[in-house]
């Protein structure tokens, strides 16, 4: 299939930029990788040379360990431009999680933007998405169905705080993905004036500490492990999604299982996961944001990496925009957690 741009190619390893000789978010180890953000399905270990924002590189080191986060790491700040082979490369904020970036490439008078994962809603923990006009835009489609319209996250936080006043004796256990969602929920709670200590599952502590090193104020955070049941009564605990519906939650006093995820918009989905208080808070663009972004960047062609590409490509075709499903397998493994 010949598209508007021939120098960016989907390959089994991931998207390949021919003149720059690098892969974007490769699924397996390659010689040169440009990483959009630190989530495990995009940032894979054991790459030879890695280029990403300083925040993403730090996140990779924290989550994978120094020795697995790329033999050599090269930092590129938002807005800085780098010539790589025949390509001019720059990273633009994607608004997904701390350090998340869109890869902006220019070659032969054409511009291609690979967005990685992104959202348009406000997030106190990361730099907002910057729309970059381009000829080819590569988008995700995690929530590309018109049933997904994320509400104002502060409304969801309000729901949580109200529930805590209704059940003051119970521990509210929030399932939130460890990179991005967890810190965003904490920051939103602080914005809403909740200043009590927040207790965390051990797996969430290192990335929270890293966020704080990068100047994101998360307030008083404490490890949940080792706390007595009584101490957690009425408290707020955050853990990985799998943990709060599992044995880990048994340490708490009659927990109210909450889940912070865009999937919570679909009732039966929340119910199937045993969630008592669904919080529709997502770090991905919802349906309206996806469509808005795809038209805002003015691209002639849109490639869809992963997610519900059928609906998005159909909706784009109604807007006279050519869409193409790359069906790159391997992304969205964090589907359930986002």
């Amino acid at each position: 299939m010949s598209g508007v741009i021939s120098w960016l190619q989907p390959r089994p390893e991931g998207l390949y930029c021919v003149p720059g000789n690098f892969f974007i978010d490769p699924l397996r180890p390659v010689a040169r990788a440009v990483i959009t953000h630190g989530h495990a399905d995009h940032a894979r270990p054991e790459q030879d040379r890695v280029l990403a924002t300083p925040e993403t590189l730090a996140i990779m080191r924290t989550r994978m360990g120094e020795d697995r986060a790329g033999k050599t790491q090269q930092a590129l700040r938002y807005g800085e431009t780098l010539a790589l082979g025949g390509v001019s490369l720059r990273l633009a904020p994607a608004g997904h999680v701390l350090g998340s970036a869109q890869v902006v490439m220019e070659h032969a008078g054409q511009r291609a933007v690979v967005s990685g994962d992104y959202k348009r809603a406000a997030d106190p923990t990361c730099t907002p998405f910057e729309p970059v006009t381009c000829d080819l835009f590569v988008t995700e489609a995690t929530f590309a169905l018109p049933v997904f319209r994320h509400p104002d996250p502060m409304h969801e936080i309000g729901k949580l705080l109200h529930n805590m006043t209704l059940f003051p004796e119970r521990t509210h256990a929030i399932g939130a993905y460890g990179l991005g969602k967890c810190q965003r929920v904490i920051a939103l709670l602080r914005q809403a004036g909740y200043d009590a200590p927040i207790y965390l599952h051990g797996a969430l502590l290192p990335v929270c500490a890293l966020y704080q090193e990068f100047g994101v104020d998360l307030g008083d955070l404490r490890p949940a492990t080792g706390e007595a049941k009584a101490a957690l009564r009425g408290a707020l605990v955050i853990g990985p999604p799998a943990a709060v519906t599992d044995r880990w939650a048994r340490r708490m006093a009659d927990p109210v299982v909450c889940m912070a995820s865009g999937w919570m918009r679909v009732r039966q989905r929340a119910r199937a996961r045993g969630v008592e208080l669904p919080l529709v808070i997502s770090d991905h663009a919802d349906w309206d944001e996806l469509l808005m972004t795809c038209s805002e960047v003015g691209a002639e062609e849109i490639w869809v990496t992963h997610g519900r590409e059928d609906a998005l490509i159909h909706a784009l075709s109604l807007r006279q925009i050519r869409g193409r499903a790359l069906r790159l397998l391997g992304y969205g493994d964090e589907d359930e957690a986002e």
Binding site: L145, P146, V147, F148, R149, W263, R265, V266, R267, Q268, R269, A270, R271, A272, G274, V275, E276, L277, P278, R308, D310, A311, H314, A315, L318
Partner: protein
């Protein structure tokens, strides 16, 4: 509408039964009339609108939404009302409207002519939030599916009144929405509604599954045995005010079985009878699949009535004429039943015979030998047991025959509905046979969607997603490499299936990741062994 919508929202997500009852009690004590009565009717499935049907929602969706996006969304969400509630985009051009009350909605749905409904419902949806839209649309689709049954609602009412739930059940079928008399009674403002001659449902007595370890303690002379028929349990009620046919969950299914209602009308004496509804062919009960044909039809046509004639095999009597005989022991009731039957000679009914046995070992042998298609096993009833509501432990036992199993290969998977709408939870599986070209091929023998734990469901869902080799609409074809051990109660010949075999009650017994697919069972051997 807001109170009802948030009740539904809370019920959906509240896992604990007691908490649900607390929510229902709270709603029933605080919501105004007639809203609460209509809410109760909605939960009990007692509302039916002749003009407002799911087709109306589809039409509204077609008018306001892109068909491709709607189909993709519906496939994902798995529930029509929720899909439209979530997708609905409020028409910004319309002036602000006030959301209607539940009573307004129900009364308008009952009286508004069909042609005026789309505009009316569209205006309601434009005036509502997504949870209210969901509630309005759920009323139209009929089945709320919010994890609260009619029984749970009645339990909440019983708690308010301080009476057993069965007291509510006994008056229920004589009442109609919005249940003013019922609320007056439970709140102590009125007398218990008088149901003396009304053909109301009486709570059914249910059996516990037998724990075979307890058999040793049984004294044969204290027990009576009957065949456990593979039909559905029904209650036949004939009083001075009419005849009704109820399921054991108190659903009135008389419209689907007019010949039974006719036979009750023709009876020369009143009675409340307990028995098994079966399709009878030449005096013998047909396999369940025949009854299934009838159960699928709300009102059967002449060919259906001719080809699948229904009958009832009676095994108990609750009211002999107008006399309540539920307090008598089983033997005494049996004598009453036999005498009543001899006097009345009702059409389309016979007596379920008692099974003679000398001792428990002999009975075990009888059970092991039972292979007739319409027999599921045995019922054991204490000779002195009165007819009690519910599922008391001790007096009645069901002793199903052993399940059969077959090792089959998963071929296709489809997402479930309701709670499992985002999971590939329905599996079609098949057995090997030699194909026309001499090469082994799989031929489907059934579909199962139960028997698995949530962990197994998560495993199978992931397995399906990772081993998909083709898609046909919502159906995924999978790599033919996973063996499922399928348990089932019986196998029947079926012209509708390519394999010529249909399984009764198939469920996943085990996931056999340890077994290579080519070692799964072969159709020819399976047919030879089980049919």
């Amino acid at each position: 509408m807001i109170a009802f919508a948030s009740l539904l929202e809370r019920l959906i997500f509240t896992p604990s039964r007691n908490a649900k009852i607390a929510l229902l009690r709270d709603y029933f004590t605080t919501a105004p009339d007639p809203d609460r009565g209509y809410a109760l009717a909605a939960m009990a499935g007692a509302l039916s609108f002749s003009a407002a049907k799911p087709g109306l929602i589809r039409a509204l969706a077609a008018e306001r939404m892109d068909p491709v996006l709607f189909d993709l969304s519906y496939d994902y969400v798995g529930d029509l009302a929720e899909t439209v509630a979530l997708m609905w985009q409020v028409d910004a051009g319309r002036p602000d409207r006030v959301a209607p009350s539940l009573g307004d909605v129900v009364m308008a749905l009952e009286t508004t002519p069909k042609a005026a409904l789309p505009d009316l419902v569209g205006a309601w949806l434009d005036a509502s939030e997504s949870s209210e839209r969901f509630a309005i649309l759920k009323l139209i689709t009929g089945a709320l599916r919010v994890g609260a049954s009619a029984r749970l609602a009645k339990t909440a009412l019983a708690e308010i009144a301080g009476v057993p739930t069965d007291d509510i059940e006994e008056v229920w079928h004589g009442l109609a929405p919005p249940y003013d008399a019922l609320f007056a009674w439970i709140e102590g403002r009125g007398a218990r509604p008088d149901m003396a001659d009304a053909p109301v449902f009486r709570p059914t007595m249910l059996a516990q599954p037998l724990d075979e370890a307890e058999l040793d303690r049984f004294v044969a002379s204290e027990w009576r045995a009957e065949w456990k028929w593979d039909g559905i349990r029904v209650q036949l009620v004939r009083t001075a005010q009419g005849a009704r046919l109820y399921t054991r969950t108190a659903d009135d299914i008389g419209n689907g079985f007019p010949e039974i209602v006719q036979a009750m009308d023709d009876m020369t004496e009143d009675a409340v009878l307990d028995g098994e509804l079966l399709v009878m062919q030449d005096g013998e009960p047909a396999p369940f699949s025949s009854l299934q044909q009838r159960l699928n039809r709300k009102s059967p046509g002449p060919a259906m009535l001719r080809n699948f004639p229904a009958g009832v095999r009676l095994y108990d009597i609750l009211f002999d004429g107008t006399e309540d005989v539920r307090g008598l022991g089983f033997d005494a009731r049996r004598a009453r039943l036999e005498a009543w039957f001899a006097r009345v000679r009702p059409k389309r009914m016979d007596l379920s015979p008692l099974v003679d046995f000398a001792n428990m070992d002999a009975l075990a042998e009888i059970r092991a030998g039972a292979r007739a298609a319409a027999i599921e096993g045995l019922m054991l009833k204490r000779a002195d047991s009165p007819y009690l509501a519910g599922r008391p432990r001790g007096p009645w036992w069901k002793w199903k025959r052993e399940a059969l199993t077959v090792d089959a290969v998963m071929m296709y998977a489809q997402r479930g509905h309701g709670r499992r709408s985002s999971y590939y939870s329905d599996y079609t599986f098949g057995l090997w046979r030699v194909g026309e070209d001499g090469v082994d091929e799989l031929v489907p023998i059934g579909k199962a969607y139960s028997g698995i734990t949530d962990e197994e469901l998560a495993f199978l869902d992931r397995w399906v997603r990772n081993h998909t080799i083709g898609r046909f609409g919502p159906v995924r074809e999978v790599e033919k490499s996973l063996v499922l051990e399928v348990a089932f109660d019986a196998a029947q010949r079926s012209a509708r299936h390519k394999s010529g075999v249909a399984l009764r009650f198939p469920r996943i017994a085990r996931i056999r990741t340890d077994k290579p697919a080519h070692e799964a069972d072969r159709l020819a051997e399976f047919v030879a062994q089980t049919l």
